[in-house]
C-alpha cells in the first residue's frame, strides 16, 4: 500500500478529479494549502501585479494498493499539467509507503480497507 500525495494548481482541481474518477479512483481527500516551490506566482491587485510569498495550491491524498500506483500517478500527471509540455508551478507528487489502513466502521485492516 502506498500513500500518494499530490500538490497541484488550484485551478486544475476539477480536471484532475474528473480524470481520477474516470480511471475509477474515487477515494480521495482534498485540502487547500499554501507553499512555494520553483514557481513565482503573480496576481493582480488593484492594477499592479504582485507576487505573494506563498502560493495557494490544492493537496490531494490518495491511499492505494500497489497495483493502482501507476495509473493514479499517470492520471494526475496527465490532467494536472498546463498544456501538454507542462510549466513551472504544475506541482509535485510524493509517494510514501503506507504501513496499514483501517476502516473505522468495521475495524478491518490492510488492502481491503482502502
Amino acid at each position: 500500500m502506498k500513500l500518494i500525495t499530490a500538490i497541484i494548481r488550484e485551478n486544475k482541481l476539477d480536471q484532475v478529479r474528473e480524470a481520477l474518477i474516470e480511471a475509477d479512483i474515487t477515494r480521495i481527500t482534498v485540502s487547500r494549502v499554501s507553499g512555494h516551490g520553483q514557481q513565482i506566482g503573480e496576481e493582480i491587485y488593484r492594477g499592479s501585479r504582485v507576487i505573494p510569498n506563498l502560493i495557494p495550491k490544492s493537496r490531494l491524498e490518495i491511499a492505494v494498493n500497489d497495483s493502482f500506483v501507476d495509473i493514479t500517478v499517470n492520471t494526475i500527471i496527465k490532467s494536472a499539467r498546463t498544456n501538454s509540455k507542462g510549466e513551472v508551478g504544475d506541482g509535485k507528487i510524493f509517494i510514501t509507503p503506507l504501513e496499514d489502513c483501517i476502516r473505522i466502521r468495521t475495524g478491518e485492516r490492510g488492502g481491503t480497507a482502502i
Binding site: E10, N11, K12, Q15, E18, R32, E43, I44, P56
Partner: protein
C-alpha cells in the same frame, strides 16, 4: 453645554433653510417630504444590487464567487450609464415607432431635466435615478439563471443589449403615461413595482438564456455546493430591506399609498418565508436557511406587482401562493433537468407570474370602485384578470423572443458560453485573475 448650544444653533439654521420652499424652473414647488422618501427609496433599491451579489455569490462554488458577484456589480456600472444616455428617454419619453418605446431628446444625458420638478413635487432627477435603479437590478437578476458558465465579455454585451431592447420597451409599455399596457382596460394592467417589467422579464429571459447556453459541466450529476450560505442569508436580508424602497417607493409619494405598499411588502415576505420552510419540513423533514431565504424572495416577488392594491390578508395569501407554486416549479425543474442554476426563473419568473395573476382576487374595494367609474359603470375582477393575462402574456412572449435573438447574436459574435477550460478553472481565475476566498489560505 457649549456643544448643545451649537447643535441648537445648527438645527435652527437648518429649520430656517428648509422652510424656504425650493422651486423648479417652471415654478413648481419641491415637496420636501416626498423628495426625502424618494431619495431614501432610491438608495434602498441600489442597496438591493450588492444584496443580490451576496445572495448569488454565496450560492455558487468558491471558484466562481467573484465572477458571480461581478455580474451584479458590473450592472451598476453599465446600466447606470446607459440609463442616463438613452434609457430614461426610451422608457419615459413619448411614443415613437408605433409605441415600441419612447423618446424625448431632452432626456438624452438628462440634459433637459437639470431644473425640472415633476408635478408630484420631486426633482425629476430623483424620479429618473429611482427608475434607473430598476434598470440596474433587472438584468442582474438574469445572471442567476446562467451562473458559473458565461464569459464576462459576453455577459456585459448581453445585459447592455437586453437593457436597451427588452427592459426599456417593457418599462415604457407598463409605466409610461402613454404606454399601451398602462392604458389597457379600466385603469391599466396592474404592475405596481415591476411584476412584469422586472421579474417576469428577467425570469423568462434567464430561462431562455439557460436553455440556449446549456447546463453547467457535470450538471446535474456533480453536486454544486454553495460557497457561503452565510453570505447568501445576509444578501437575502438586504434584499428584503431594499424591497421597501422598491415597492413603497414605487408609490412616488409619501403618504397612504406608500404605507399600504410597505405593509403588503412586509406581510407577503414573511408569509412566503414561513410557507417555504413549512413545505420543506413536510416534504424533506428539515427547514433550511436557504429555503427561508427563497421564501422571502418568492413572497417579495409576488407582492411586487400587487403592493399598491392588496390589503394584509391578500398579501398573506399572495406570499403563501407564491412560495407553494415556486417550490413546485423548482421541484419540477429538478425533474426536467434544465440548469436554471440559481432559480432566477423558478422564483422571479414563476413568482412574478403568480403575483401578477393572483392579485386580482385580493384587490381592495376602493380600487375596484375607481376602476368601475373609469370604465363607465362596472368593472369585475374577471375583466381585470383578462388585462393581467394579456400583460403577462406580452411580457413573456416579448422577453423570450428578443432574448433568444440576443443570446444567439452575442454567442456568435463575442462568445457568451465560457469554454470548458474556463468553466473548470472557474470564472474568478479565468476572467478576473483573482480568487474570492484567498483569505482562507495562509499567504
Amino acid at each position: 453645554m457649549r456643544i448643545k448650544k451649537r447643535i441648537l444653533l445648527v438645527t435652527g439654521i437648518l429649520a430656517v433653510i428648509s422652510a424656504i420652499p425650493a422651486f423648479g424652473s417652471d415654478g413648481t414647488p419641491v415637496d420636501t417630504g416626498i423628495t426625502a422618501w424618494m431619495l431614501t427609496s432610491t438608495t434602498l433599491v441600489l442597496l438591493m444590487v450588492p444584496g443580490l451579489a451576496m445572495f448569488y455569490g454565496g450560492l455558487v462554488r468558491t471558484k466562481n464567487v467573484l465572477g458571480t458577484m461581478m455580474h451584479s456589480f458590473v450592472a451598476m456600472g453599465i446600466m447606470a450609464i446607459l440609463w442616463v444616455l438613452v434609457g430614461y428617454a426610451m422608457s419615459f419619453g413619448s411614443n415613437i415607432l408605433g409605441g415600441w418605446f419612447g423618446w424625448n431628446k431632452d432626456y438624452f444625458l438628462l440634459r433637459g431635466i437639470d431644473e425640472t420638478i415633476t408635478p408630484s413635487g420631486i426633482p425629476e432627477y430623483v424620479f429618473s435615478m429611482f427608475q434607473g435603479k430598476f434598470a440596474i437590478i433587472t438584468p442582474a437578476l438574469i445572471a442567476g439563471a446562467i451562473a458559473e458558465r458565461v464569459s464576462f465579455k459576453g455577459y456585459i454585451a448581453f445585459i447592455a443589449l437586453w437593457g436597451l431592447l427588452v427592459y426599456n420597451p417593457l418599462c415604457h409599455w407598463v409605466w409610461a403615461s402613454d404606454g399601451f399596457l398602462f392604458n389597457m382596460g379600466a385603469m391599466g394592467a396592474i404592475d405596481f413595482a415591476g411584476g412584469t417589467v422586472v421579474h417576469i422579464a428577467s425570469g423568462v429571459s434567464g430561462l431562455i438564456a439557460a436553455l440556449y447556453l446549456g447546463a453547467r459541466r457535470g450538471h446535474p450529476k456533480t453536486a454544486v455546493a454553495p460557497s457561503n450560505l452565510v453570505m447568501t442569508m445576509i444578501g437575502a436580508g438586504l434584499l428584503w430591506v431594499g424591497w421597501f424602497g422598491f415597492n413603497a417607493g414605487s408609490s412616488v409619494s409619501s403618504g397612504l399609498l406608500t404605507a399600504q405598499a410597505l405593509t403588503a411588502t412586509q406581510v407577503a415576505a414573511a408569509s412566503g418565508a414561513l410557507t417555504w420552510i413549512i413545505i420543506e419540513a413536510i416534504h424533506q423533514g428539515k427547514s433550511t436557511a436557504l429555503g427561508f431565504a427563497s421564501g422571502i424572495l418568492a413572497g417579495l416577488v409576488a407582492v411586487t406587482p400587487a403592493a399598491g392594491v392588496v390589503q394584509p390578508w391578500g398579501a398573506i395569501l399572495l406570499g403563501f401562493g407564491a412560495s407553494l407554486i415556486c417550490y413546485l416549479a423548482i421541484t419540477a425543474k429538478n425533474k426536467l433537468g434544465y440548469d436554471d442554476s440559481l432559480d432566477a426563473f423558478g422564483i422571479h419568473g414563476i413568482g412574478g407570474i403568480t403575483g401578477s395573476l393572483l392579485l386580482v382576487f385580493f384587490i381592495r374595494k376602493s380600487w375596484m370602485q375607481a376602476a368601475a367609474e373609469a370604465a363607465g359603470g362596472s368593472w369585475s375582477m374577471w375583466q381585470q384578470l383578462g388585462v393581467q393575462l394579456t400583460a403577462v402574456g406580452i411580457a413573456i412572449a416579448y422577453s423570450a423572443i428578443v432574448t433568444l435573438i440576443l443570446v444567439w447574436v452575442v454567442n456568435k459574435v463575442i462568445g457568451f458560453r465560457a469554454s470548458t477550460a474556463a468553466e473548470m478553472q472557474g470564472l474568478d481565475y479565468t476572467y478576473h485573475g483573482e480568487q474570492g476566498y484567498g483569505m482562507l489560505n495562509p499567504r
